[in-house]
């Protein structure tokens, strides 16, 4: 539960953190207002009688769609690594990991 509700109802700074977006303060304010307006519109949903209604889990109900345990060709490694923002030999190279989920 985010702490510090802002005007408009969304703690944009907190949500931006969850979504890994480095918003500028101006963006936080702008989006806060715009999303607040959307939420006002969305609040109309609270009028709907949904107490005994099941949430749509799938648009077209199907079950047990699965595939056989048979190998299919993998991608060529060079094709993949060539487009890596940074690579080292056969690996993807990424910046130092600190304070992230381990």
């Amino acid at each position: 539960m985010p702490s510090g509700e802002k005007a408009g109802g969304i703690d944009v700074a907190y949500v931006a953190k969850l979504a890994r977006l480095a918003l500028t303060p101006a963006e936080v304010e702008k989006f806060g207002a715009q999303l607040g307006a959307l939420l006002e519109h969305v609040d109309a949903l609270s009028a709907l009688p949904v107490a005994d209604v099941a949430a749509t889990a799938q648009v077209i109900a199907q079950a047990n769609v699965a595939r056989d345990d048979v190998a299919t060709p993998s991608l060529d490694r060079e094709t993949v690594l060539q487009q890596a923002p940074r690579r080292e030999g056969p690996y993807f190279r990424v910046p130092r990991i600190i304070g992230e989920e381990a």
Binding site: Q62, D69, A71, L75, V80, P90, Y91, F92, R93, P95
Partner: protein, 488 residues
């Protein structure tokens, strides 16, 4: 070597991640194999490329249900996949497809024996299916850990491998129980063909949640989660260390912090990894790219029939009926093919302990020496049963039995027939033995004097001499008996 928790008891739950032994990954057709060249078993789906979609591996679903059935878990009629959203460089989609509130199995119980023969059980909360992440190595730090590294390298071969997460209830109380529980899991998974369960290859990873509470209390204490153990023994050591650490804190009047701690094998301690207070908001929601999984009762029954004979049932027979020691029973079950061999031989001989002694003793030794498994050696269960009968019936002595085994190992054949044909039966006639005994005593006057002077240990030497004189055929028990009689 347990650390005694003074007034406290340790309460533990274990969470295991077990890689399933399927041909291909959980949601795509890339190969599921260990040790391949980095980033060669990858495709749009397991790399999280734009536009790719997951499709579940049917065999993975069935293996997981079988694992649950082996522990009497319930298979709900309806199960689904959910997205667990978080960012990490080894996560191709920055969400993991997992199961949140409707897993494939619920409940169940793992029953096991401690070395001293006590039976214990640990309930399961659930077993669910998810996909594994890629593997990262960290460059620039002394020890390859994240802390102090300057950058990381990621290999996505492992990303998308099917992973079974087994969560236990906090029913475990000691390091020994934890190890025995893990071994019971492993034993069953290997028997089912569900996984190789090799901690050193990463196909089993486990975390222990450990808290202490005063003996007799019902509330749980604050727990710490321990990670980074790479073998079952390591788990045991980590638990002992953590129990000691938490005990010291509580006895000192302090409070245990809820956190994740990593086990440092070299240092023999755990250290803080991150505070679990900083709980992550995973924003679970049902994965719209996947359909629910609904196992009908007849499918569940079919899978139950395919389980075959389970380790627990076999152990129960070995320990409770055949009265084997727990350690011996485990060795029989854990060596491929050995149970079948033993069961056949013991069934024929009617003498479980004697059969076991040969199987775990001489036969296993020969197996090691010749690099041939007992199950496929030249000594058939029938042959072994004959040797047991010959030995128990005092027809041959143990030395002869050993020689016979070694011979039949190589040549095959019927020990009974060989003994009869070559007259290998031990000499059990008192008169014949007496004659030999007389000769030995006469030839070893000095030793006789030592014996009479009180050095009774030399009896062994004298018996050996009788065996030598009889070319190994004397009944050693009778030999000793007659020697004593003569020396009395």
């Amino acid at each position: 070597m347990s650390v005694t928790a003074t007034a406290y008891e340790a309460v533990m739950g274990i969470e295991c991640h077990v890689e399933l032994k399927t041909e291909t990954k959980m949601f795509c057709g890339c190969r599921n194999i260990f040790g391949a060249e980095p980033n060669t078993n990858v495709c749009p789906t397991c790399l999280g490329l734009p536009g790719a979609l997951p499709v579940p591996n049917r065999v993975a679903l069935e293996l997981l249900v079988k694992a649950g059935l082996a522990f009497d878990a319930e298979i709900p009629a309806f199960s689904k996949f959910d997205r667990k959203n978080y960012f990490y460089p080894d996560m191709p989609k920055d969400y993991q497809i997992s199961q949140f509130d409707m897993p494939l199995t619920q409940g169940g119980v793992v029953k096991y024996w401690l070395p001293d023969g006590t039976q214990r059980s640990c309930r399961l909360t659930r077993i669910h299916l998810e996909e594994d992440t890629g593997k990262s190595t960290h460059a620039g730090s002394r020890d390859g850990r994240i802390a102090g590294s300057t950058y990381s390298l990621v290999d996505f071969n492992r990303a998308g491998v099917p992973l079974m997460e087994c969560v236990s209830e906090p029913d475990i109380r000691t390091a020994a129980e934890a190890v025995a529980y893990l071994e019971a899991l492993k034993r069953t998974f290997v028997a089912l063909g569900v996984s190789d369960v090799k901690m050193e290859e990463g196909s089993l990873r486990c975390d222990v949640n450990l808290s202490l509470r005063p003996v007799g209390a019902t509330e749980y204490g604050t727990k710490a989660e321990i990670k980074n153990m790479n073998s079952f023994n390591s788990v045991g050591r980590a638990i002992e260390s953590e129990i000691a650490r938490q005990t010291a804190i509580l006895e000192g009047g302090g409070r245990v912090v809820q956190e994740t701690r990593g086990w440092d094998e070299a240092a023999g301690t755990t250290h803080t990894m991150r505070s679990k207070e900083q709980a992550h908001d995973y924003r679970y929601f049902p994965d719209p790219d996947l359909t629910p999984i609904e196992f009908a009762p007849q499918d569940v029954e079919r899978l139950r029939r395919e389980l075959g004979s389970l380790p627990y049932e076999r152990l129960e027979r070995l320990i409770e009926t055949d009265k084997l020691r727990v350690e011996q029973a485990h060795q029989i079950i854990d060596t491929p093919g050995l149970y079948g061999y033993y069961a056949a031989a013991a069934g024929l001989s009617g003498k479980p302990q004697a059969t076991l002694n040969f199987v775990l003793g001489d036969l296993s030794r020969l197996a090691n020496e010749t690099n041939t498994p007992v199950a496929s050696c030249g000594v058939t269960p029938e042959a072994l049963a004959e040797i047991v009968a010959l030995t128990e019936g005092q027809t041959i002595n143990s030395k002869t039995a050993k020689e016979l085994l070694a011979r039949v190992w190589v040549e095959g054949g019927s020990p009974k027939a060989i003994v009869a044909a070559e007259g290998l039966g031990q000499v059990s006639d008192a008169g014949a033995i007496d004659a030999i005994v007389a000769g030995v005593l006469a030839a070893n006057e000095k030793t006789v004097e030592e014996y009479r002077a009180g050095k009774t240990k030399v009896m062994g030497f004298l018996v050996g001499q009788v065996m030598k004189a009889s070319r190994g055929k004397a009944n050693p028990t009778l030999a000793e008996e007659r020697l004593r009689a003569h020396l009395a």
